[in-house]
């Protein structure tokens, strides 16, 4: 079930694609506490709360998987600072599989 209302201070809400909800008990929207300051912090928080999820987003080299996009307030963080992109209080974070042409 999606969370509703405004998240508490220091909490960032993250929307996940259906393919990753098996790691979150079926929830497409999860909250990351601890005032995460960057996309990297968000992904670390996701991994801590939901074992196995981080490995689906981050390679063993520490980079975002090439066909995963993380949006902060609608902006693709690949065009911003990548994992260092700052995440403000109340930011809307959405993770989506990238389009894969062929």
């Amino acid at each position: 079930m999606p969370a509703s209302g405004t998240p508490a201070a220091g909490v960032v809400r993250v929307t996940l694609p259906a393919a990753l909800t098996e790691f979150t008990g079926g929830r497409a929207v999860v909250e990351i506490p601890g005032a995460p300051a960057s996309v990297g912090d968000i992904l670390a928080g996701l991994g801590a709360a939901h074992p196995g999820l981080r490995d689906r987003l981050i390679t063993e080299r520490g980079g975002l998987r090439p066909h995963v996009n993380v949006f902060v307030d609608g902006e693709n963080t690949r065009f911003l600072g990548g994992l260092d992109t700052p995440v403000g209080d109340g930011a809307e974070v959405v993770i989506l599989p990238a389009v894969s042409g062929g």
């Binding site: 393919a19 066909h67 996009n69 949006f71 609608g74 693709n76 690949r78 065009f79 809307e92 959405v94 989506l96 599989p97 990238a98 389009v99 894969s100 042409g101 062929g102």
Partner: protein
């Protein structure tokens, strides 16, 4: 293997695969392959051939191909003897301007211009840009209005690369044109290519937080018929659409198809209401739904679609037909190739199908032509 002398006069298929190009020539009368097909190739063995074309304007009978070598890059090659020999690797050079910071990866489309512009050829390339030649392919220049488009930095590539794969024009020199980029969306120029505006109103982008952005859609193919140039049909990365106003607005026409995801789309050569597609189950699976190889045809401009199955496997057919692997040829021939290396032909508007060949490398390009008699 047949020798290639270009004199068959029958239907000929230009087949681009991930391991070279093949030519399939129809045997016997009518050129529809009733007597079987002769296969010639591979040309450019080991190289990916995503784009081929036949140019019969201005007295020519010229094949074009754009092989991509993973080590040595992409070259543009032509043959005036139907594949018996090809131009050298250095003869036709397609290069981005030095100050662009870009370098050519692949050529995805080779598009001879209309009969009214017999010396014009356009190329759709990766990274996404349009190149044009005004001297039948001697010299090439990047189209500045797309090369320096302000949206360029926001276009994004997927696994297939950032490619400009579709070029549609009104046939008039200096006229209107529509191109499509995966993933950038559709763009139209009304001034001969000087400026380009996004034309994606109504086309969705499932992979973005904003499902209906101005641009950034992953358009897979657009087709139209010269007799009704303002009407466009679009196969999207999720979504099947029609526009009746040159792309100003798009309407969903996924009426009765098993999936609105797919790559390939082709226009009937003689009927502006008839279009062919090959739906795929999803962007995750990318195979034909229910393991049935079905071409879908509309004869009413997308109001309804029917499955065409006669002669096509309906069990254990986990097939994929890519964006340029479906083609038509007058009067009623339809052809497609699959990622598993099969090629099928129909001579009755798609109602029934025969296998042309199998066992090819993955097929990424199918073009059909009727070469002139020598």
């Amino acid at each position: 293997m047949a020798s290639g002398d270009g004199t068959s006069g029958g239907g000929t298929l230009l087949l681009g695969t991930t391991k070279g190009a093949f030519l399939a020539r129809a045997r016997g009368g009518g050129g529809a392959g009733d007597g079987g097909w002769d296969l010639d190739g591979p040309h450019f063995p080991g190289e990916e051939v995503y784009a081929m074309a036949y140019d019969d304007r201005a007295g020519r009978s010229r094949l074009w191909a754009a092989p991509h070598n993973p080590f040595w890059g992409t070259t543009l090659r032509f043959s005036d003897d139907f594949g018996a020999s090809w131009s050298g690797k250095a003869e036709r050079s397609v290069k981005f301007p030095e100050d662009s910071g870009l370098s050519l990866k692949r050529i995805w489309q080779i598009q001879p211009g209309s009969a009214r512009e017999p010396e014009v050829i356009r190329l759709g390339v990766e990274p996404a840009c349009l190149f044009i030649s005004h001297d039948a392919g001697e010299r090439w220049e990047a189209v500045d209005g797309l090369l320096n488009h302000p949206h360029r930095e926001r276009w994004h590539a997927g696994a297939g690369g950032l490619c400009l794969h579709t070029i549609i024009t009104d046939g008039e020199p200096g006229g209107r044109a529509t191109i499509a980029i995966s993933a950038g969306g559709a763009y139209r120029s009304d001034d001969g290519g000087a400026t380009w505006a996004a034309r994606n109103n109504g086309v969705r982008a499932e992979f973005l937080p904003d499902k209906h952005p101005e641009f950034g859609q992953c358009v897979h193919k657009i087709v139209h018929h010269p007799s009704n140039p303002a009407r466009l049909f679009l196969q999207n990365h999720w979504g099947l659409y029609r526009s009746d106003d040159w792309g100003d607005s798009w309407t969903d026409i996924a009426n009765g198809v098993p999936s609105d995801f797919g790559f390939a789309m082709a226009m009937h050569p003689g009927d502006a209401d008839t279009v062919y597609i090959v739906p795929l189950e999803s962007d995750g699976f990318r195979c034909t739904p229910e393991a049935k190889l079905r071409v879908y045809r509309t004869r009413d401009g997308g109001a309804s679609w029917e499955a065409l199955t006669e002669g096509l496997p309906q069990r254990n057919a986990y097939e994929t037909v890519l964006r340029d692997a479906l083609a038509t040829l007058a009067p009623g021939q339809v052809f497609f190739g699959t990622r598993s290396g099969k090629v099928y032909a129909s001579r009755d508007d798609g109602t029934s199908w025969r296998l042309v060949c199998e066992g090819l490398p993955p097929v990424v390009c199918v073009k059909a032509c009727a070469p002139r008699e020598a």
